[in-house]
Symmetry: none
Subunit: 408 residues, 2 copies
């Protein structure tokens, strides 16, 4: 509840927190509704929610200002008058005494609880929450201040709901991150597994230059959920193999840096269109100094020639955006930093600079090693920033493929 | 629409964007509902929303996988069968042709539009949106991918809705972006203006290495709102002066690149702890090739010496994280690229690598010009990625200060 949410002035991170915590104790969230500070509409929403749910959880609108009408809305929706809760009144008096300030009448409005309900103590602010059982539905109201809401969720609401959970059904999930395959290819390769899957469910999601597979299990124990997820993960790994580079919050750069360090290899980067993004991503990984001496951002052709030793005739003949120049950049930076590997990217990020022959989004990446130089051609159809990101993603994927070949 | 939202796996930033944009054109948002990828519940929610609203806007669930059922839900809720839209089919074919990949049958599911509706072109992906007028309510569906959704909102949905808006109260807002001052300093400097302000309101917000001031006016016409905002902005500019570097979605790198180009100056970057982030930010700006020949990522000390000419004794005496080395890196990179300016950053991003004398978050930045070299010392107390970002922010701010001095 909060008009500022419906005006788009703030992002609803409370909803994320509450949903995640409820999922973790096995509560299915089917509907989430955001409302402004409007008595009539909150009353309407509470009645609708109570009719379709076992639990209605509200956050926001418990403050002392006339705007804040959530407790009044609960009273009206349930037909229960508001009564002052003596313990809450004392807590408010105590809070202001510590602050060395005088409470106003508006502050004591916060001690009102619908008849038959309990106050949920607020350890971090003045507004107690509301816990009410009404005609078979539990109605809970918490303040909108994230710190207060989170504390009250952890200390009071989650234990209460966990205790009422019928069979102790819990939901767990795990995200597999897939590189080097498009979403429809992943779905095709995993078709049979996806088709027969009911618990856990598997949801494919398009990432940025990668695909995510979310495995979600609903079980009566954490151990059972872990086992089922592990089983499904093993099946998916069977068909997708090394295309799965990590799970949950893992990043491709973490995987690549880890593989470089384990292989005892160093890498230098030569970046044109990515402008430093590949180096930035590598150095986002703590410990990357063990495999990354540095790189050159060769945005101008002069820099490609002077620093990376790219031949002027090569540039004239093929243009800066070409497989030949990508190869020369990778070779040049590898030598310059005396690294085991040299990786390069050159392309047209856009929105301008494209031609019929070399359109916006055309990119070449290169990888030089002691044995060989390989290049890849990509054509991305995104905006400038996304073309840059996908180029860096392709470059890291190319390095990863090479390292996989070493260990395989 | 998206099960991942109800599981709390992602935060709903699309809702924030959509609500903010709708508020800006005077559309009152009264209800926001989040649903999983469940056909029955989406159908139910569309019917309820259509009964109480002039416009129902959905985002998410238009992808090619069997999970994605938003278009089916619209068809069912309105009783209109899905028909293939030939233009959307051609756009999908064209998209895959450019990508040099084969579309699957699932991809063509995205060309289905409920009878009587129009496809909203998707300039950034394969899923067209849906625009349908049904029994007096406009029903709109957009993809959940933020970039695609945002582009389709700006190009299609907002103009359509603006054209249909009756007369009424509108809300407009404008964000001023402030660099080089902390939030409490900004509040102090603008104290009088903040105190007497009611319409527009002014809300100060802490950004990442910057402060945002959001001016929001509620008026009966767009012109009146624009005038009031302009008046308040002028007052704030009077006290904050050149600390305001841009408005709304402007970035510091855009401002700096624009100033470099107007001043006819070029800049080269020497990055240690930022690992390429400064170059990456500069090259996020289209046209940056006019002022940015390139840079060196000198992560290892050997690279600082070999490429940037940093003296070995200097490194031994002061350490890599020092004002002296920052100055030498800036000077070195300026000469290497024959640029007008050289900017550098060296520091300890963390979480490891700190000592009592040189703690995590200690950073030195340098700026070399034809006339002088200046350095700045910063101590950031964030995590690795945020320390890197704030270092790049400080470096760009230092360049900006110098360029302001030139023009001032």
């Amino acid at each position: 509840v909060g008009t500022e949410l419906l005006l788009g002035q703030i992002t609803d991170t409370n909803a994320t927190f509450i949903c995640r915590e409820l999922a973790a104790i096995g509560v299915d969230v089917y509907f989430r509704t955001t409302l402004g500070d409007n008595l009539g509409r909150i009353v309407e929403a509470i009645r609708l929610a109570a009719a379709r749910s076992d639990v209605v959880l509200l956050t926001g609108g418990l403050g002392p200002t006339p705007d804040d009408v959530t407790r009044e809305a609960i009273a009206e929706a349930t037909g229960r008058p508001l009564r002052e809760d003596p313990a809450s009144r004392r807590a408010i008096e105590e809070y202001f005494r510590k602050l060395e300030r005088e409470p106003t009448a508006a502050n004591f409005k916060q001690a009102l609880i619908p008849e038959g309900g309990r106050a949920i103590p607020n350890g971090a602010g003045t507004a107690p929450g509301v816990f009410l059982e009404h005609e078979g539905t539990v109605i809970i109201a918490l303040p909108g201040v994230p710190r207060e809401m989170e504390q009250m969720m952890r200390r009071f609401v989650l234990p209460e709901l966990r205790a009422r959970r019928p069979e102790g059904l819990i939901i767990k999930s795990r995200v597999l991150r897939v590189i080097g395959l498009g979403e429809s290819n992943v779905v095709k390769m995993a078709e049979e597994i996806l088709a027969r899957q009911t618990n856990p469910t598997i949801a494919p999601l398009a990432g940025r230059g990668e695909v995510l597979l979310r495995i979600t299990a609903k079980c009566s124990s954490e151990q059972e959920a872990d086992e089922r997820i592990a089983e499904t993960e093993a099946q998916l790994r069977q068909v997708l193999g090394e295309h799965i580079y990590g799970v949950d919050q893992a990043t491709l750069e973490e995987d690549v840096v880890g593989r470089l360090i384990r292989a005892g290899k160093t890498i230098a980067v030569a970046e044109s269109c990515t402008g430093g993004l590949i180096g930035n991503r590598i150095t986002n990984v703590s410990g990357s100094s063990r495999c990354f001496p540095g790189g050159v951002v060769a945005y101008a052709n002069e820099a490609k020639m002077a620093l990376l030793g790219v031949d002027q005739d090569l540039l004239a003949k093929h243009g800066a955006v070409s497989a030949e120049v990508a190869a020369a950049m990778a070779t040049g930076v590898r030598e310059l930093f005396r690294a085991d590997l040299g990786v390069s990217a050159t392309g047209i990020a856009g929105p301008t600079g494209g031609t019929a022959e070399k359109p916006v989004g055309l990119v070449f990446i290169g990888l030089a090693t002691a044995e060989s130089v390989v290049t890849e051609r990509h054509h991305f159809l995104r905006d400038r920033l996304d073309n840059k990101f996908r180029t860096s993603q392709a470059a890291l994927a190319l390095v990863r493929s090479y390292l996989l070949g070493l260990s395989g």
